[in-house]
Subunit: 134 residues, 4 copies
């Protein structure tokens, strides 16, 4: 998604000293994680052992919703409010950590959980990195 960087570059006002590399990385990680978690919830739903994956599905759905909201918030720069940004990043980090922890338990058996756990860890790290710059 190089368009993320294009949109940051073409923002008409000053971005206020934000670390644009960390911001772009976090936005892209959030949208990627939202997609992957939606897909992983659905893959778990199609496993024969779905009854053992219900916590994984729920965690996937939470993570998808929170990543999507976080990606949207981070895509806005007008009237920036550091308290809201920090709080939503903390929520996103918590959701990604919970989902990665859960998916890692099934990563050996279900490759979609392995792909998902990796996307969640990348997003968790991107949130941590961006929080460190605020």
């Amino acid at each position: 998604m190089s368009t993320t960087t294009d949109m940051l570059r073409t923002y008409p006002k000053d971005l206020g000293g934000v670390d644009t590399a960390a911001l772009a990385a976090c936005i892209e990680a959030c949208f990627e994680c939202a997609q992957v978690c939606s897909a992983c919830a659905d893959s778990c739903l199609s496993e024969d052992m779905v009854a053992e994956l219900t916590k994984c599905i729920r965690t996937n759905l939470d993570c998808a919703d929170i990543c999507a909201a976080t990606g949207a918030v981070l895509s806005r720069h007008t009237g920036y409010d550091v308290n809201v940004t920090r709080a939503v990043l903390e929520a996103c980090r918590a959701a990604c950590k919970a989902c990665a922890d859960e998916c890692e338990k099934h990563a050996d058996m279900h490759e979609h959980c392995k792909v998902c756990a990796e996307a969640c860890r990348r997003c968790e790290q991107a949130c941590t990195d961006l929080l460190a710059t605020l």
Copy 2:
């Protein structure tokens, strides 16, 4: 939305000692606030003085996205994770506070901001109340 209560009542497993009244109130406040904030952003956009309302619009959009995600997370009970719930409630409370603070500045001049500020304060309080029970 009495259907919120119906859905809590018909959940097939134990809700784990959650305060269902506080939970239902918070879910309803989140969905109400998401709708009102989407509408308030659009009303601000149609004001002749839109150039003075850009921070309000942005805060409305963030609040709408975060309330919608929070309402969805709170509607799930399977595989409950208190860390994710707490973090998303903190983010929702911060977004509602920021939006209420901003809308209250224009409440005398724009009645939609008055209605919106009230919905945000209700949701902020509902998040605070639910957090106190976790």
Copy 3:
């Protein structure tokens, strides 16, 4: 959600001859249905017979996402585009019909599916009614 009506009443420009009663009813039905479908997906996930409810869960999740998007689109009036409104209402009607059809199959056995099917039918009808006024 009488706040829906308050927000329509306080919109600063002309609403362009829209049927505000049909519009308010449809907005409220969309947000109600989004909440109920998120909750029903989660209730199905906690049923012992979850393996027989996977299509129901998937349909619930689609309906929740589409209703939430439709409710947000309908909450905006600035720069109204009838083609987008009509297309999203058609999608919402299709999703609500599919979810109601599916949930009705399990309504006798699972009361959450009964509550959900009713919310979906209300929203399907509200979309049909609003489409008839466009």
Copy 4:
């Protein structure tokens, strides 16, 4: 987002003869367009001539919401319903066309609208291509 392809490849059941290349392209276009439209709405909001961009902002917001919902629906394969898929793709195509048409009007003056119009055209085409395979 090669993870989109990874998630399709690791789906545990048969994908039912879907054109996976067209599906992956459409999912990626939806998530890209959702991000770009959220960012373009915010960039328009920060333009000095925001009062002349209100229709553009509204169209951006609709397109972001509909693309996000469509991307989530397309990420699910369990219990596939062609009527819902077709209807949401039609809505997404309409929203992308409306947003591209609007952003193209300002593409010479605002580079973010140029980037956004291109993302919307890609997503409109991806929806058209996927619809042709259903």
